[in-house]
Symmetry: C2
Subunit: 135 residues, 2 copies
């Protein structure tokens, strides 16, 4: 493993964070990452804190937060404004539960259709097609 005494250049940084170089640049434009210092020239150098930040973003994404919402979470990064973080998490939980309700409804309709379809072998009109015509 190579040493990067002045901090990681973008390629090594992206690899360390498990994302694409272009993704780093994209996050930079979205201000999800601070503009890093550019020691000796015009090349950006990143540190461990930046790697942690990208991983934070990816963790939050896995919980369904959008990048915009994650920008909000990142302003609470010092961990001292628990109330605000809880509000964001509660709102997201509501979103997720609403989507769950939708999907459960859809699942039951689809399951019924598949079921009725199986039960109606030889019928002239497919129950699935008929149901889609019915509403």
């Amino acid at each position: 493993m190579k040493k990067h005494p002045r901090g990681l250049p973008i390629g090594a940084f992206a690899a360390a964070a498990g994302v694409n170089v272009e993704t780093i640049r994209f996050y930079q434009r979205k201000a999800l990452l601070p503009e890093p210092g550019r020691s000796y020239g015009s090349i950006r150098r990143y540190g461990e804190a930046d790697v942690a930040r990208v991983k934070f973003v990816k963790s939050a994404q896995r919980l369904g937060f959008s990048l915009q919402e994650i920008a909000g979470l990142l302003t609470l990064d010092d961990g001292t404004r628990c109330d605000e973080a809880r509000v964001l998490a509660e709102e997201k939980l509501e979103d997720v539960r609403a989507k769950l309700d939708d999907l459960r409804r859809i699942e039951s309709v689809l399951a019924q259709l598949v079921d009725r379809c199986c039960a109606s072998r030889g019928r002239i009109t497919c129950p699935i097609i008929a149901a889609l015509h019915a509403h």
Copy 2:
């Protein structure tokens, strides 16, 4: 209500189907609707079958089918190829169940985080922020 003896022009058709005029033209480009006849001039005229078709598309969308998948369903529109329709419905059911699994996992994590957050009033480090840093 006005009569449209030669069939509905696009505006009345879109209204009857409950969608935007632009949506009709978009569906036309996607070949979800057949090119309608243009009697006497260059104006498209639509019939009841077209209205039913748009409603079919909207029903299928509510069940989570993409327009591309709906194009597939529409080729089975005569209702005689029940097996093929069932396969498409089963695949969609699998999709929906996979998404449900994801969301349930997310819900439980979020619910735990909110819970722990509530339990830790006064703590210095917010458990939500800490958890996002942990993975």
